[in-house]
C-alpha cells in the first residue's frame, strides 16, 4: 500500500516557499534602502546636504537591519544543517 505523507509534503512546500520569500524580501529591502541612500548622496550636494545626510544614515542603518534579519534566517539554516544531521539518522 502506497503511503504518501501529504501533510509533510504540504508542510515542506509551505516552509520552503515561506522561508525563501522571507529571506529574499528582507535582502531586497536592504538593497532598495542602500540604493535610496546612494541616490541621496548624489542628489544631496546643495542646501539640503545636512537633511540628506541624516536620511542617508537612516537608510543605511535600516538596510543593515534588513540584511541582518535575512542573514539570521540563513544562519539558522546553517544551524539546522549542523545539528539536524548529527542527531537524526535517515
Amino acid at each position: 500500500m502506497i503511503e504518501i505523507k501529504w501533510n509533510d509534503l504540504i508542510l515542506v512546500a509551505g516552509t520552503a516557499i515561506g522561508v525563501s520569500a522571507f529571506i529574499v524580501t528582507f535582502f531586497a529591502i536592504g538593497i532598495r534602502l542602500l540604493a535610496n541612500a546612494q541616490h541621496l548622496a548624489i542628489a544631496g550636494k546643495g542646501k539640503k546636504k545636512k537633511d540628506h545626510f541624516v536620511a542617508q544614515v537612516a537608510y543605511r542603518l535600516s538596510a543593515a537591519l534588513s540584511f541582518l534579519v535575512s542573514s539570521s534566517v540563513m544562519l539558522y539554516g546553517l544551524y539546522i544543517i549542523v545539528t539536524f544531521s548529527k542527531a537524526v539518522p535517515k
Binding site: V12, A13, A21, F27, I31, H39, I81, V82
Partner: protein, 403 residues
C-alpha cells in the same frame, strides 16, 4: 570465497564507491554553483573551490547519518548485501552519472545509485528483492513534487525581489548587490549537499565492510572511510562538472543576480525543509526547478522549455537506465563469480575512459565561461553531431562568401 579473494573484492568495491562519490561531486557542483557563475558573482574556479571546501566540511559534519543508507527500495534482508551485488549496482550508477554528465543533463546521483542497486538486486533476488511501493513513495512522487515546490518558491522570491527593487527608468536599482548574497546562499547549498551526499558513499563502504566481515554493524564508521569519502566528493566538486554547470547556468534560463540569489535561497530552503521534515527530495531536481522558477519570475526572461523537457526525461530515465546497467553488470558478477567481477571492472573502466575521451572532442571547462559570459545565453551543450553540423554550415557560408 577465501580471505584474500574477499579482500580483493572489498578493495574493488571500496575503490568503485569512492569513484562514485567523485562523480557525484562533479555531477552536482552545478546545484550550488551554476547560478553564481552565470551571474558573475563568483569566478568559475573560485566557485568550484568554495563548493569543494563546503562539500568537504559537510561530509565531516554528518557522519552519524552514514551508518544507514536510504536503500529501503530493496528488500536487503531477503537477499543480503553481498559485495559483488553492491559492486554491480555502483557500476550502473557511475555509468549513468557519466552519461548524463556527458550530455550535460543534471540528474539525481541518489536515484542513479538506487537504480543501479535495484537492477543488481533483481538479478540476485528476483522481483521479491525490489520494493516497488517504496520506489513510488521515495523516488517517483518526490521527483514530481521537488522541482514544482522549488520552482514556486523561486518564482515568488524572484518576483518579490524585482518588485521591491524596481525603480523608474534611468535610475540605478542596485540589483548587482544580490551577487554578495549569492556567495552566501550558494555556499549554504554546497554545504547541505556535502552533508547529504557524502554519507551515501560512507554508507555503501560500511555496508561492504560489514558484508566482508571486516567490521561489525555496531562499530562506528572508521575514520579512513569518512576521510576518503569527504576527499572524494571534495575532489569531484573541485574538478567541476562544467557541462552541467553550463546547462544549469545558461541553458535553462537567462539568470541575473536577483534571480540567482532567489534561486539558491529557494534551493537551500527546500532541501533543508524536506530533510528536516523527513521528506527527502533530490538536490538536483530542486536546483533545476529553482532555476526555471527564477526564470519565470522576471518579466522578459526566457525559459528554454526544450532543454527543461530533456532534463525531465533524463530524471525519469535515471532509475531504469541505471537499473539496466546494474542488472547487466550483476549478470556478470553472479554468473562468473570473482572472474566476472574483474571482467566487469575492466569493462566499466573501458566505458569510463571512452566517455572521457568522447567528452574531449567538445571540451568545456572554466575557460568556456570566461569566454561566453552571461550575455551568451542559450548555448546549451552540443552533441558531436550538432558540432559537425554547425561546422559544415559555417564552411558553406565561407565558401558562399568567396564566390
Amino acid at each position: 570465497m577465501d580471505s584474500s579473494t574477499t579482500l580483493l573484492v572489498v578493495a574493488l568495491v571500496v575503490a568503485l564507491a569512492l569513484f562514485f562519490d567523485f562523480t557525484n561531486g562533479f555531477h552536482d557542483t552545478a546545484n550550488a554553483m551554476a547560478t553564481p557563475i552565470a551571474t558573475g558573482a563568483m569566478k568559475p574556479r573560485t566557485a568550484v573551490i568554495v563548493a569543494a571546501i563546503m562539500n568537504l566540511v559537510g561530509a565531516f559534519i554528518s557522519t552519524a547519518v552514514a551508518k544507514t543508507i536510504s536503500v529501503d527500495t530493496i528488500n536487503g534482508d531477503l537477499i543480503g548485501w553481498g559485495p559483488a551485488m553492491i559492486f554491480a549496482g555502483l557500476t550502473g550508477a557511475i555509468l549513468w552519472n557519466l552519461t548524463t554528465w556527458f550530455l550535460g543533463l543534471p540528474s539525481s546521483s541518489s536515484h542513479a545509485l538506487f537504480g543501479g542497486l535495484i537492477g543488481a538486486a533483481f538479478v540476485y533476488g528476483g522481483m521479491d528483492a525490489i520494493n516497488f511501493v517504496k520506489i513510488i513513495e521515495k523516488v517517483l512522487i518526490p521527483a514530481l513534487f521537488a522541482p514544482f515546490i522549488a520552482g514556486v518558491a523561486a518564482w515568488l522570491s524572484t518576483s518579490l525581489a524585482y518588485i521591491i527593487t524596481s525603480r523608474s527608468k534611468n535610475v540605478a536599482t542596485g540589483r548587482g548587490r544580490f551577487k554578495i548574497g549569492q556567495m552566501f546562499s550558494s555556499s549554504l547549498v554546497a554545504l547541505s549537499h556535502g552533508t547529504n551526499d557524502a554519507q551515501k558513499t560512507m554508507g555503501v563502504i560500511t555496508l561492504v565492510l560489514i558484508a566482508g566481515g571486516m567490521q561489525t554493524a555496531e562499530a562506528p564508521i572508521p575514520f579512513w572511510v569518512i576521510l576518503s569519502a569527504a576527499l572524494a566528493i571534495g575532489l569531484g566538486t573541485f574538478s567541476g562538472g562544467w557541462r552541467i554547470i553550463k546547462t544549469m547556468g545558461h541553458g535553462l534560463a537567462e539568470i541575473r543576480p536577483a534571480q540567482g540569489f532567489a534561486s539558491e535561497v529557494a534551493t537551500g530552503s527546500t532541501i533543508l525543509a524536506s530533510s528536516y521534515l523527513g521528506f527527502a527530495l533530490s538536490t538536483t531536481q530542486v536546483a533545476s526547478g529553482s532555476v526555471i522558477g527564477s526564470g519565470l519570475g522576471r518579466t522578459g526572461a526566457q525559459v528554454r522549455w526544450g532543454k527543461a523537457g530533456q532534463i525531465v526525461i533524463g530524471w525519469f530515465l535515471t532509475l531504469p537506465a541505471a537499473a539496466v546497467v546494474g542488472m547487466l553488470s550483476a549478470l556478470l558478477t553472479r554468473g562468473l563469480g570473482t572472474t566476472g567481477l574483474v571482467l566487469d571492472a575492466i569493462l566499466a573502466l573501458i566505458l569510463i575512459v571512452w566517455i572521457f575521451q568522447a567528452s574531449r572532442k567538445n571540451k568545456i571547462n572554466h575557460k568556456s565561461f570566461a569566454e561566453s559570459g552571461v550575455e551568451e545565453v542559450g548555448v546549451a551543450i552540443q552533441s558531436p553531431r550538432q558540432v559537425r553540423k554547425a561546422t559544415k554550415k559555417a564552411e558553406q557560408k565561407i565558401q558562399k562568401g568567396k564566390k
